[in-house]
Symmetry: C2
Subunit: 758 residues, 2 copies
């Protein structure tokens, strides 16, 4: 068995110290000469015609350098649905829609200028319920479309109608999953500057620097090659940066009009009021099983509320569909979904991307089916768990799969058999345990024509290795993963590696940080580049050590003869020996990796990822039946990650994901009333703090994926997916009521208890 | 014959607009958070023992964050002669020697702190004359050395003693060549910052980012791999940045002690007082010829004043030796030189690097020999001119050589035959013409173990090409050269190329900007990288166009079939076609070029460069015999540059070099009295301004060098080399007196005229 020196070590991230000491320069910290401050005037109404905009008073305010409205911008639409312009000229379709923007020498003047802009609106009837939005006669959000239906799609495998008849038991539920936001600590930001030759540099907290280049180009008619995206340091992004939103082209256009760099950053209130939310969904779902424990069928109808405009977030349905169609072996399945325009807030990508919703449905109903056939829910899950190297009816080619081990380990550690059998009750406090599993893409997800990543590795005369990778760090720890992979391959210490990945003009392409893909994709690209470097090192070391490459290994900073390791030369010495001689060479390698996954066909089938991650969470909760308050006591989160390149960051991803899942389960909720967000602070929004986080025990199951770099698969999103279901199942175990609406607030618990007793 | 689309075009530099509009960020403009201001306390004495330094009052001054003296620094020496520490602890050896340094929150406080430092000196006898410094009993500059002689070397080819006897005529002269400075408009600068993990980033106006990394490492004991050098934008450097000087490690150590970034920038006065000068030289030279016009022998004895410490500038003697040994065919030659320590200002690299001095000697004596045998000086030169593809006795392998064409063209255009034969005289104004030639390394100069350069080229989906090259731009225009080479090879427009070359952590290695090497070396590296890119483009285009690579060409932004050019695909479309498909790839290429030149042997022989540039300047001057004032009326400067990649920048280099040569000839002079520089402003130093520059007619002779990128050779320094000799020769033609001391001031002219008439 191969032993590793760097893989599997708990090595700090390159940005750990700068972040911990405050040295790092976040987007909000960036200042460039002559920079102006941009602000956006937004619609107070959810749906209205714009009759007139008068910016003349704002323009006259001293210190104001540019005021723009829709008429200043090229008439180009952008976004996944090509359904919006950065500034709205004809009508507004949501509270917060952008109608004008200003750039001024400071933020106060910019704010004051906004107040001087007069907009005359003619209010229109609005629609906030997606079902109502589909009724004939409903107000049309986009008048150039026939209806508010953005997309209807059906996925089927097997024969679900027949299967529903065949099944020994059927459960049926309606789920109501509310809005949550990614809510990073740093609010949305960009800074745009044109140089004198008309080329644009944009500093951004994007997760998709290369696609942002394309999106800005298409939205503004600036050639893509004239746009350079510099990604500033990011603490956490959670999907927020996966689309271009209106503020980015607005910022660019302010900079163009003002002829000076413009910075645009949201206030915290703005962030909650207008940045994108996880899709609110209503799901009607049925599931059937056989008495012998075979899961037999699933059937779901999904209504997805896009809000006023459609982003990449609308394809969360694909993920949801996969969870319903392929998490556990299910011979028959159908998912029908409608994705609908309303005058509600816009939605977008949030960690998990449809999977938390799908997993909630699947895993609540797994519990319900087990109960219906009188089987232990764990046993029912194990009976139907996905197995390694099998293809699901959906065309998902599972390779390594540790689902069974994850379920068993999570259950064992939470004390499943004892606790579930006899839920504790002390006065008004009831305790229970629940379990839920997850499957998540772990080897890319082909939703764009390229799912690849490029990497260049160069070595200087001192043995410092620079890795230029397209894959960016958004706080998830991918930098340390890439560094460890290169360090392992080259047998050097991670601190000898410098990673450069913040500038589209410098680094090779990457599709972006999404779908838990960076470890697998960027890791494989880095490994390929490092192998080229290694080959060059070995070529020179062969001469120096008088041994063939096959006899040599790179380890502990040396090239050495494997059998006689005292015969060795320092890595940096080999580098210099190769460079400083007649016909010398410096060392450069490059690698490219695009996995052999597929885009889904129109039937929703295909192998979207090169591998899949699996996990299971077991949760113990305490429910106060008098107040309805649910307190998670402990979470065990076991995940098959292929191999943990850095267990500390795998744990970090799982823990962070779990806390995010707990927020989704119990407290986080963007309260929207008639299209207007009511809770505009983290306190009102009720993001969990460290005080809300129970002990989380992480378990790493290693399955050594054949295609992953050193066997690794992705883990970024998995921790978030099963938590809400595990919590709901634990509540049921504790107090015997099922709450299918998220978040599970004390009010809902009390209402459910009341309903049961009445 | 090959036709070019981009090579040979007068295309602006990428940094032209930013520089012209003031958008560029020079070193002095860089600001980083928490930055402090560093200042250096310098010795007022040329030679003294340091008895005591009291920094206590400075340390107590509010706002002072660090005070350092020699005892704070590791006991490491640096520099070409390993003869100095950044701060001097035992004694000072020149006016301006560094004895202490402070970092404070602003410059005023830093200045005030310097005044609070008390240094007790014990003055020592000093020596300012290099000849006196060699006498027994002279004060020793470095007491650990036996004498003030740094290096004695002799170069011989043929049999010079016999040849001096054989020669029909012999001329003998003593030359006295004073100090000049590179004097860039931006004074010396660096900014040092340690990150929290102890890694150093230094922003610098260096010309040798990768060697600075090494020099700082050795001087301070910081591992080279922990040092990142960012070269800030440079307007012009002219050799100033070819060595690390004391202020750079001082700045770094201030940053380390203060725990904050420290910026250190010279005042203009400091720049003149303590930054390095071109070597002052005294040269005794003899030359002999045969009556039939054969140049027969040269014999020179050179005394080079290093000043108090030795830099790379001391190897200017190698260049001087080559000029004396190989400019024109000379069967016998000897150069003996002593390079000597004195208490004078330090000397270093300045454009031409020994060649202006050597060329002055050679070309004045060529005129004198021609006169002695009664031959036209032009004819004498043509008779002895180097020829293409011949090896000189020194081992210099000349490839292309347009010396004859340069001489003929320069002479023709200045009106040589008429004007020289009958110099004009109008009252007190005498006119004359002079000519001089130059040979300069044009294909690298191996003075370090690697003379190579690395380059990476990547292409994004929009067809933007990024060139990551080790070769930096110091105002000379190398960026445009590299860009044009890549653009030509890829058939795209230069504005589609982004060049990245400012960061040692990002770009591959380059030895630095010196020896007019960048066009040839970095150009060849870029061409190799571009060829890899082209091969990838062609591979995909073959499929798309159904033609073999041999039938295709890249031109005007298209890949097209050569014979049927209407069958074509846009460059960027091929790039995307290669990327966005099953098994797609992004395009990355890399190249490395290290020429087949040699380090000189101990005998001074060897082929130091892969090719050589040649040139000739003809000058017409006006001499006011009453005031002694010399006014250049016109310069014709003809240069064999192999091929002019961008004629505009070739002309720019020649024009700039010529004006620098005119300054050397007529006005620039660092006046040093007892080791102290007296003239501390550009006005007193008498740098030529645009008002002093005569019309300069540049003539580009193209010889298509077989090894050069698209046939190009270097041109950076050539324009400076022959000017002083051409001016001196023209003065002689005008008024019949020879002045062998530079600069040729009115006082010297009047004195020479007086001497002649007495």
């Amino acid at each position: 068995m191969r032993t590793f020196s760097i893989i599997g070590k708990r090595i700090p991230k390159p940005d750990a110290i700068p972040k911990a000491t405050g040295q790092i320069i976040y987007g909000h910290d960036v200042k460039v000469p002559r920079m102006l401050y941009g602000k956006i005037l937004r619609s107070p109404l959810p749906h209205a015609r714009i009759l007139h905009i008068d910016t003349s008073r704002a323009e006259r305010l001293p210190g104001v350098k540019a005021v723009i409205t829709a008429k200043d911008l090229p008439p180009r639409r952008f976004g996944y649905g090509r359904d919006r312009t950065p500034l709205k000229g004809d009508k507004v379709r949501r509270c917060g829609d952008e109608v004008a923007a200003v750039a001024a020498i400071d933020e106060d003047i910019a704010e004051e200028a906004l107040e001087l802009i007069r907009v005359e609106y003619d209010p229109l009837p609005a629609v906030f319920d997606p079902q109502a939005a589909l009724q004939p006669g409903a107000p049309l959000i986009h008048e150039d479309r026939q209806s508010n239906l953005f997309r209807h799609q059906e996925y089927v495998h097997g024969e679900p109608d027949r299967a529903l008849e065949e099944a020994d038991v059927i459960v049926e539920d309606e789920f109501d999953l509310g809005y949550v936001q990614p809510a990073p600590l740093e609010t949305s930001f960009c800074l745009a500057a044109f140089d004198a030759s008309g080329k644009l540099t944009i500093w951004s907290t994007t997760q998709i620097p290369f696609l942002l280049q394309k999106d800005l180009s298409e939205a503004l008619g600036i050639p893509g090659r004239d746009i350079r995206v510099i990604q500033t340091a990011i603490g956490g992004s959670f999907g927020r940066g996966l689309d271009m939103y209106s503020f980015e082209p607005i910022c660019v256009w302010l900079a163009r009009k003002a002829g000076r760099p413009v910075r645009l950053a949201f206030t915290r209130q703005e962030e909650f009021a207008v940045s994108e939310a996880r899709q609110s969904m209503r799901i009607w779902a049925r599931a059937g099983a056989m008495r012998d424990g075979r899961l037999w069928v699933r059937d779901a109808k999904v209504l997805l509320d896009n809000g006023a405009y459609v982003s990449w977030g609308t394809v969360t349905t694909l993920v949801l569909m996969e969870t319903i169609g392929s998490l556990y072996r299910v011979p028959h399945a159908r998912v029908v979904y409608d994705s609908v325009y309303t005058n509600n807030p816009i939605t977008g990508a949030v960690r998990g991307f449809g999977n938390p919703q799908g997993t909630f449905v699947v895993e609540v109903q797994m519990d319900r089916l087990a109960e219906a056939i009188g089987m232990d829910p764990l046993e029912f899950r194990l009976r139907n768990a996905n197995r390694p190297f099998e293809e699901t009816p959906q065309g998902i080619k599972i390779t390594t799969c540790g689902l069974t081990e994850c379920l068993e380990e999570a259950a064992r550690r939470i004390g499943w058999s004892e606790k579930r059998a006899a839920p504790a009750r002390h006065g008004v406090i009831a305790r229970g345990v629940g379990i839920a599993a997850t499957m998540n893409v772990g080897g890319g997800a082909r939703i764009y024509r390229s799912d690849g990543c490029g990497c260049i590795v160069k070595v200087d005369d001192f043995g410092r290795v620079t890795v230029l990778t397209g894959a960016t760090e958004i706080g998830q720890g991918s930098d340390v993963v890439v560094v460890q992979i290169v360090a392992e391959e080259l047998g050097i210490r991670p601190e000898e590696i410098t990673i450069v990945n913040d500038d589209t003009a410098v680094t090779p392409w990457d599709v972006g940080v999404h779908a838990s893909r960076t470890t697998f994709i960027a890791g494989n690209a880095a490994l390929r580049a490092a192998r080229q470097v290694k080959a060059q090192i070995l070529e020179t070391a062969e001469e120096l050590l008088g041994a063939s490459a096959a006899e040599l290994e790179l380890r502990d900073g040396y090239v050495r003869i494997r059998e006689t390791p005292e015969q060795r030369i320092p890595f940096d010495k080999v580098v210099r020996a190769r460079h400083f001689r007649q016909g010398g060479q410096v060392i450069i390698g490059h690698g490219w990796y695009d996995p052999h996954n597929e885009m889904l066909g129109p039937d929703g089938k295909g192998n979207i990822s090169a591998t899949y991650g699996f996990g299971a969470q077991a949760v113990e909760v305490e429910v106060d039946v008098e107040t309805g308050k649910v307190r998670p006591l402990r979470v065990v989160s076991a995940h098959d990650v292929g191999r943990a390149i850095n267990p500390m960051y795998v744990e970090g991803q799982i823990e962070g994901g779990t806390v995010m899942g707990l927020g989704y389960a119990l407290s986080e909720h963007l309260q929207v009333h008639e299209g207007r967000v009511l809770n505009l602070t983290p306190f009102d929004y009720r993001m969990p703090t460290i005080m809300d986080a129970p002990p989380i025990e992480t378990v790493i199951i290693e399955t050594d994926d054949p295609e992953g770099p050193f066997g690794a698969k992705g883990v970024g999103e998995m921790g978030t997916n099963p938590t809400a279901a595990a919590v709901a199942n634990a509540i049921y175990n504790a107090i015997g009521v099922r709450i299918n609406s998220l978040p599970i607030t004390p009010e809902k618990v009390l209402r459910a208890l009341r309903e049961r007793s009445s």
